[in-house]
């Protein structure tokens, strides 16, 4: 807080002169970067299409209502597949994420110099690559289908689960582990009775949270051929069957909202 004097009277100011200049410099640079980026994108845009968009949107909307409820019979199986991709993918991820997190946490890793960097690299590379890109790769490698979807969801989720889990392990209360060890427990017993009970609630919370995200992610894997509700969505869009598209979109909203509700309830029950 600073006070400036103006015509002999004291005036309250939020920052002194130096801080004010620094703030303005930050604002100016950010605005310049934003304008520059916007300019580059604007160059690559055909503005006639953009001005036309409201009319297009109205047209599309008119084609999408009413949803084609008759085609719902063919959609139960893709919905079941989508849920399976999310659930089995999450299951696979948490099974792999536990040892990775154990190796990545500073207080449990077998070796800070060798094992920890490897575990951290696994976490970062799994997190940086979107599940759709994993699906793109896996579909070219092992062929289209639900299996590729499960693997890609699993591979993407390892990093997420392992990162949150290793942070939870690093935040545990060491004195409890110390107490268990003082009773003469071996390393494995100290882990099982000193560390696991402390991170178990976090672990359950993370798994359910990721499951909720994975439901949303698995709705699009079908677009690259990896199974689930994305397959009929892609088919409906390519055949311009807009009434089916709107039905599928409604189903996706319902599934995602239901998943979010379940996950919120479960997390509430755990914590």
């Amino acid at each position: 807080m600073a006070i400036a004097s103006k015509d002999g009277a004291k005036v309250w100011q939020r920052r002194d002169r130096k801080a004010q200049f620094a703030t303005w410099a930050v604002y100016l640079t950010s605005t310049a970067i934003f304008v520059y980026c916007w300019e580059l994108i604007s160059e690559k845009t055909i503005w006639a299409f953009v001005w036309d968009a409201p009319a297009q949107a109205g047209d599309l909307f008119a084609r999408m209502v009413p949803p084609d409820w008759g085609s719902i019979h063919g959609l139960w199986r893709p919905i079941w597949d989508t849920l399976n991709i999310a659930t089995l993918g999450t299951l696979m991820a948490i099974i792999i994420a536990v040892p990775v997190a154990y190796c990545a946490a500073r207080n449990t890793t077998p070796s800070v110099a060798f094992v920890r960097p490897v575990a951290l690299f696994i976490i970062v590379s799994s997190r940086s690559i979107n599940s759709l890109i994993w699906a793109l790769m896996l579909v070219t490698i092992i062929g289209p289908g639900v299996f590729a979807g499960i693997l890609s969801i699993g591979l993407r989720s390892i990093g997420f689960c392992a990162k949150l889990l290793y942070e939870a392990i690093e935040e545990i209360d060491e004195s409890q582990v110390e107490a268990v060890r003082a009773t003469g427990a071996s390393g494995g017993q100290a882990t099982a009775y000193g560390i696991v009970p402390q991170v178990l609630p976090a672990f359950a919370g993370i798994s359910v949270f990721r499951w909720d995200i994975n439901i949303r992610e698995s709705t699009v894997l079908g677009l690259v051929g990896a199974g689930g509700i994305g397959l009929p969505l892609n088919a409906a869009i390519t055949t311009l069957a807009w009434t089916q598209v709107s039905l599928i979109l409604l189903i996706i909203i319902a599934t995602v909202v239901a998943g979010e509700w379940v996950s919120a309830k479960v997390r509430h029950a755990i914590i």
């Binding site: 599309l60 970062v124 590379s125 940086s128 289908g145 639900v146 299996f147 699009v220 690259v224």
Partner: protein
């Protein structure tokens, strides 16, 4: 129970779920679900087996990845992704501020609250790629559609967290500002904004990070950025170029993540 009986009893770990019937019902339910799920998942093992050499070839392509032969396409794609990320994050956050304020139960009237919550729910339900398909349809191919997609997805993420943060704020401070006779805008600016700002800056940087990662996938459906290049590389089985792109994405995400972590600590 007598003392002797207690002494000879062995300690047992208490079960995670106390009610026995619930424990068994959950286990049984999980077993039935897993049996059904595995039973209905068709895996074409011969196709998987045939694909393994291709997978090996893909992993071999990482040693060394080919940065050179498609360098100009990769470079353009990465730059375009970065511009898209900057523009989309800024516009998305700017738009999510009114939506987030409207979706906070303690300061918005009921009709506004439900309207804004509706926007957030729609934005959060759809994965970026589905949104991108529609925006590409409306705005044509190119980075503009990708930008709109990312900005719209940002509204759902940022608006929801902003609304929750405002709902958790300390009402006493806001009340004090109001007691000085402040107008509504002044009240928001001096009573509410300082309480949520530090966390919101951190989340803004986090969203920048997410938007960059997502910008790699909106390109697959025509939304501009590095995704289009990556998709082409996969379609043409140019695994060494694809490996190069993936490594660049990983590197940039790491840089953004570390610098945003640093910035967040500096701001808070």
């Amino acid at each position: 129970m007598t003392l002797a009986a207690t002494l000879t009893r062995r300690w047992q770990k208490p079960p995670l779920i106390k009610r026995a019937w619930l424990r068994w019902a959950l286990a049984l339910g999980a077993a039935i679900y897993l049996a059904l799920a595995f039973g209905t998942t068709e895996v074409n093992w011969t196709r998987v087996w045939e694909g393994l050499p291709r997978g090996a070839r893909f992993f071999a392509a990482f040693f060394p990845p080919d940065f050179v032969s498609r360098w100009s396409e990769i470079f353009d794609g990465i730059l375009e992704s970065l511009w898209m990320t900057v523009v989309a994050t800024v516009i998305g956050i700017a738009l999510s501020i009114p939506v987030g304020i409207g979706a906070a139960k303690n300061i918005a009237p009921a009709p506004v609250y439900y309207f804004c919550r509706g926007i957030l729910a729609v934005s959060r339900s759809f994965q970026e790629v589905i949104l991108a398909i529609f925006f590409v349809k409306l705005f044509g191919f190119g980075p503009f559609a990708g930008c709109v997609t990312l900005a719209f997805a940002t509204i759902g993420f940022y608006g929801k967290l902003l609304a929750e943060d405002i709902e958790d704020m300390d009402p006493a401070q806001a009340e004090a500002v109001r007691a000085t006779g402040a107008g509504w805008l002044q009240w928001i600016n001096y009573g509410v904004q300082p309480q949520v700002l530090p966390r919101m800056i951190g989340l803004g940087l986090y969203r920048f990070d997410i938007n960059f990662r997502e910008s790699a996938v909106v390109g697959i459906v025509g939304g501009g950025g590095i995704g289009a290049t990556l998709n082409t590389a996969f379609d043409r089985y140019e695994f060494d170029s694809a490996a190069a792109i993936l490594l660049i994405i990983i590197a940039i995400v790491m840089v953004v993540e570390y610098s945003s972590g640093y910035l967040r600590r500096w701001v808070q």
